[in-house]
């Protein structure tokens, strides 16, 4: 048994150490421990809390479906941040891009009529992608011409888009009734649920396809090579004949497009219309997910599932214990703190590689 474990470790060690997955996992475990300490200090029972969380996230098939359904838009958000970051553009605008995609897909789903599903669904996706992608490109162009930090541009664009979307909904696409939302989408634009009455729908396959796409771009393509060169050393990339601004724009077209897809699957798969706040916070979670995933698309999927589980589990924790759901927010904040604490990580990396190397010497 132990032998099996060591062999498995030896095989996967390189991958785990290199991809940084171990440190993301370590950071997550730390966050769990520290949150538990905070719960204890506040007079709550962390074991009770975590077991409620766990059962809320994975306790039944319905719960698993909720977790994965919640993870779906988060995967898109994480991938979106990841490709921007790779090209050296820190895209905090995911929130707005997600929102724009949610509205674009809802509108295209509701107002385009008489199309068969196999045309209508891809068309909604394409429209959402283009809207989100153009917002991504716009942030690049603003940075280029106004020479303002992308952090400011993208954060400010989030506000602009949020209120613009509100205006568009209430002025042009309002569904008659008491609730401010868009009309129901046509049946031909709906993504089928995988588990009845749950959030989980076929959109998750699109998210996984996006993951594979990015993985392929990063690992195999010239474009992936070029944007990474730009992200790591802009001036060397320029010297190497790479049209830096064009590449960043394309990367951000993909980044914004992926974010918009996250909004689109929510509109088309979960709600069936656009309603205010339906995707709020997903974009910001995407930042944490991308960091936790270490920029690796597969890492993003794993981190998304964890975050989906936290979101899904927190409502159960809220219901069945007296622990406030805000602890989940604390936990997420701690994850960011630990993942982005490079000294801490270097310490553990040194320790780990040292014990490993001295161990192999002894053997």
């Amino acid at each position: 048994m132990k032998d099996l474990f060591t062999r498995a470790w030896k095989k996967s060690k390189g991958f785990i150490l290199q991809s940084g997955a171990l440190f993301s996992i370590a950071a997550f475990v730390f966050s769990l421990i520290v949150s538990a300490a905070i719960m204890l200090l506040s007079g709550f029972d962390p074991l009770q809390g975590y077991s409620a969380l766990l059962s809320g996230a994975f306790g039944s098939w319905d719960n698993v479906a909720t977790t994965l359904g919640t993870a779906t838009p988060l995967i898109f958000a994480g991938l979106s941040v990841s490709i921007g970051k790779r090209a050296g553009f820190f895209n905090i605008g995911v929130e707005g891009q997600l929102l724009s995609g949610a509205l674009a897909a809802a509108v295209a789903g509701a107002y385009l009529k008489g199309l068969p599903a196999f045309i209508h669904i891809p068309l909604c996706f394409a429209i959402a992608w283009i809207v989100g992608g153009l917002i991504g490109v716009l942030s690049v162009k603003l940075k280029q011409f106004m020479k303002v930090s992308e952090l400011i541009i993208t954060v400010m664009l989030n506000y602009v888009i949020t209120y613009l979307v509100d205006i568009l909904v209430s002025e042009f696409f309002l569904n008659p009734g008491y609730v401010v939302r868009t009309p129901d989408i046509q049946a031909s634009a709906a993504l089928a649920p995988l588990v009845p009455l749950s959030r989980l729908n076929t959109g998750i396959f699109v998210a996984l396809a996006g993951t594979v796409l990015l993985y392929w771009i990063y690992r195999r393509t010239r474009f992936g090579y070029e944007i990474l060169a730009v992200g790591l050393n802009r001036r060397a990339a320029e010297t190497g004949g790479i049209a830096v601004n064009t590449k960043v724009s394309i990367a951000m077209f993909i980044s914004g497009g992926l974010a918009a897809m996250g909004g689109a699957v929510e509109s088309m798969g979960v709600h069936g219309y656009y309603i205010a706040n339906m995707v709020s916070g997903y974009g910001y979670d995407g930042l944490t997910i991308a960091i936790m995933g270490g920029g690796n698309p597969i890492g993003c999927v794993m981190a998304s599932v964890i975050f989906g589980a936290l979101r899904a589990g927190s409502s159960n924790m809220n219901r069945t214990t007296n622990i406030p759901g805000e602890f989940i927010t604390i936990l997420q904040a701690l994850v960011i703190l630990f993942v982005s604490a490079p000294l801490l990580i270097r310490y553990f990396k040194d320790k780990l590689t040292r014990t490993k190397s001295s161990g192999s010497e002894a053997a």
Binding site: T221, A229, L232, R235, T239, G240
Partner: protein
């Protein structure tokens, strides 16, 4: 009496032994040159002395007392100061404020600014380190910034001064000034340790020389007993050939690249002023000049990184319309960038990824979308072998390579693509003597193969050694253009600093 004695210093990083049983002494009023290739352990040893690193074994005696130097603060208290290769200055403060930083004169609870200016002015006067105490550091040229660093050491009343590669950033004239200052320090009884890999300045300035190789002391000897060939051999561990054999090229080979009436303005300042240059096949045209006289801009223009305001570039006689880096690479203009770390390589890329940078679009390495991984790897393996790039594997990150080997990556990349023209800017800056020799041979090899080479270098020895023809650039203009054999160091030095060309005037008479 020895002010510093280091005995049996050992320091290792993981499996690398940076210092093995190193002994080092320095006496009052002495300049000791600590000579060795990059990675020989010089900086490690000095970081131990300065308290930045704790030795694994060994003892340090300062003024006859054994000390444990745990931090730079301890070192400063013991009178040890270090001038790093990369300056530790606050750019937005004035010279005087930088000098007193951390040890400010006070008036009551407040910073006594007037006294700071006064004291720094007095110090700079006393040691002939002319620099205006009121100037903001960001406005100073590098040579001046270095003086500020030295003033910092003086202000802290240090008697033991460590200088890490101090001339790496200086022009020949500035370096001479520095050595003059160091001689003064010596007379006032200070001990100076000069970390360097340059033989010439060691011979020029040092009283004694300690040579390190692979973390061990090869020998310590008085300068008067040393000669350059022998020092080089001890440093590298094999004989170094300083002169270079070259083919006699036939006259009248065609002009491969020229630039006509090139004028470049940046933010209203003219950086290049009506420059005309022709580079023939089979020729190395050296551009000599003090850093900052337009060399950087010239290289950037010729490689498409900057667009001229007036004038044009011609390749094989045809003007290049709208030059971009990609276009110039396509026209087979190879580029060895002057600053390896910012433009030449990507530190976090692997060796093989770096070897194709700039050529990733060529059909050899890339299909329509995907890179041809197998072709890239085969090419990288081949090139690493051919250009003697010492790395564990072609998948290692470039940052794990020494400076010389990183530069070989740049040069291997350019040479493997069969360029017609090569713009080589500071091709051996920050590179070991062994690698310098190697790089020089490769450049001459390109020339012998009929390529046109524009060699831009602040290192006069390099220009004189390699170039067939030399153009001197001063203040954005070419002030002289002549066969290399018609120049000597004095004439070049005068031209580079903007003095009128004596020999030309004599000839005119």
């Amino acid at each position: 009496m020895n002010v510093v004695e280091m005995r049996g210093i050992c320091k290792s990083f993981g499996l690398v032994n940076a210092n093995v049983d190193v002994d080092l002494d320095i006496a009052k009023g002495e300049i000791l040159s600590l000579l060795g290739e990059n990675g020989a352990g010089k900086t490690t040893l000095m970081n131990v002395l300065y308290g930045l690193l704790e030795p694994d074994a060994g003892t340090i005696w300062i003024n006859g007392r054994q000390e444990r130097i745990l931090s730079p603060l301890t070192a400063t208290a013991l009178g040890i100061s270090m001038v790093h290769q990369h300056f530790m200055l606050v750019n937005t403060l004035t010279v005087a404020e930088n000098v007193v930083l951390g040890y400010e004169p006070r008036k009551g609870a407040f910073f006594d600014r007037a006294r700071a200016f006064e004291e720094v002015g007095r110090l700079s006067e006393e040691y002939g380190l002319r620099v205006d105490p009121h100037a903001e550091v960001s406005t100073l040229p590098v040579g001046m910034k270095q003086r500020v660093e030295i003033l910092k050491a003086l202000y802290r009343k240090s008697d033991i001064l460590i200088l890490d590669e101090p001339t790496a950033v200086l022009t020949p004239g500035e370096a001479d000034d520095l050595f003059e200052v160091l001689r003064q320090f010596k007379q006032s009884g200070k001990a100076i340790i000069l970390i360097t890999h340059k033989l010439k300045e060691t011979m020029q300035a040092a009283d004694r020389i300690t040579i390190l190789r692979q973390g061990r002391v090869v020998r310590t000897m008085p300068r008067v007993e040393a000669d350059v060939d022998q020092l080089a051999e001890m440093m590298v561990g094999r004989r170094i050939v300083f002169s270079i054999g070259r083919k006699e090229m036939p006259k009248g080979l065609p002009v491969l690249m020229s630039i006509r009436h090139a004028t470049l303005k940046r933010e209203g300042v003219a950086k290049l002023k009506d420059i005309n240059i022709d580079v023939h096949g089979g020729e190395i045209l050296g551009i000599a000049g003090v850093d900052g006289n337009g060399q950087t801009e010239l290289a950037e223009v010729l490689t498409g990184l900057q667009r001229l305001n007036e004038g044009a570039i011609y390749i094989n006689g045809a003007p290049v319309k709208a030059p971009t880096p990609a276009k110039m690479l396509e026209l087979k203009v190879g580029h060895i960038p002057e600053d390896r770390t910012t433009r030449g390589v990507i530190r976090n890329f692997s060796v093989s990824q770096n070897l194709i940078l700039g050529y990733q679009r060529s059909a050899r390495f890339s299909g329509r979308l995907q890179l041809k991984k197998r072709a890239v790897d085969a090419f990288a393996k081949n090139t690493a072998e051919k250009f003697d790039i010492r790395c564990g594997s072609i998948d290692d990150p470039l940052s794990s390579l020494s400076g010389g080997n990183q530069q070989k990556v740049v040069i291997g990349r350019v040479m493997s693509e069969d360029p017609r023209i090569v713009i080589a800017a500071q091709p051996t800056r920050g590179v070991d003597i062994g690698a310098v020799e190697y790089i020089h041979e490769r450049i001459v090899e390109l020339r012998d193969a009929g390529k046109a080479i524009l060699l831009i270098s602040a290192d006069l020895d390099e220009v004189i050694k390699l170039a067939d023809r030399i153009s001197v650039i001063y203040d954005g203009r070419i002030v002289s253009d002549d066969e290399a054999k018609n120049y000597d160091e004095r004439r070049l030095g005068a031209l580079m600093t903007g003095q009128a060309d004596e020999s030309r005037r004599e000839a005119d008479r």
